[in-house]
């Protein structure tokens, strides 16, 4: 079946411009995550959506970053007034509670290929 898709795959923008990154999760997955990954580094958590609960925004680095998830499916990460330090790969992941355990106990994640953002 279809995996997690992200668009665009690459985005080059000028400093100060706004960008929107899109994530289409796997159908039926109730959880959706956004991460940022700089070259050669691990994953930096940005935001987490779980069902209809209020999102966990604790990882957003500044108020220039925002995300929404419409209808419990597609998500958009928006970065306003981009800065050069925003350059990174932005990864989206979705997950679904695994049967047999407490709800949300596993959250095995399926990742998209990422969007490489370059701010000039």
């Amino acid at each position: 079946g279809a995996g997690v898709s992200q668009s665009p795959s690459n985005k080059v923008t000028e400093k100060g411009k706004d960008v929107e990154l899109r994530c289409d999760p796997i159908s039926g997955h109730t959880a959706l995550y956004w991460y940022r990954q700089s070259l050669g580094q691990g994953l930096e958590f940005l935001i987490y959506f779980q069902g209809n609960s209020a999102p966990d925004k604790s990882g957003l680095p500044s108020d220039r970053f925002s995300a929404e998830r419409t209808g419990g499916s597609v998500s958009t990460l928006t970065i306003q007034r981009t800065q050069q330090e925003d350059s990174a790969v932005y990864l989206c992941a979705s997950s679904f509670p695994v049967a047999g355990g407490p709800s949300f106990s596993y959250n095995e994640q399926f990742f998209g290929p990422g969007t490489r953002l370059t701010v000039l």
């Binding site: 959880a31 050669g40 994953l43 779980q50 990864l91 949300f104 959250n107 994640q109 290929p113």
Partner: protein
């Protein structure tokens, strides 16, 4: 402060050698997961360990979950160049609301021919 500490951060070995990567925490986890990420791609799940003391094998990879469910290890036997990648451990602390997953910083493994 990282909830999950991985070590070593970098590992460079020759083909055929064995290696172990560690993932440690002071928190108890209901489960821990290991992912591998290759350049230009998103991480891919390798295994989930659930029970304290559990050992899972995936071909040449052996995963262990500590008895106290605070740590895990990944052992690779006779490493191959195809094992090169970033290895990440992840888990949700027991009792955490909403079950958000936390990742370690990763171990970058390079296997030379």
């Amino acid at each position: 402060t990282q909830l999950l500490e991985q070590s070593p951060q970098f590992l460079s070995i020759q083909e055929g050698e064995n290696l172990t990567v560690y993932c440690n925490s002071s928190s108890v986890f209901s489960s821990l997961q290991w992912y591998r990420q290759e350049p230009g791609e998103g991480p891919v799940l390798l295994v989930t360990v659930v029970t304290g003391g559990e050992v899972k094998k995936l071909k040449r990879l052996t995963f262990q979950f500590g008895d106290a469910r605070k740590d895990s290890s990944l052992h690779i036997t006779a490493a191959q160049t195809g094992d090169t990648g970033l290895y990440l451990c992840a888990g949700a602390p027991r009792g955490s609301t909403l079950g958000r997953l936390y990742f370690g910083r990763g171990t970058q493994l390079t296997v030379w021919p």
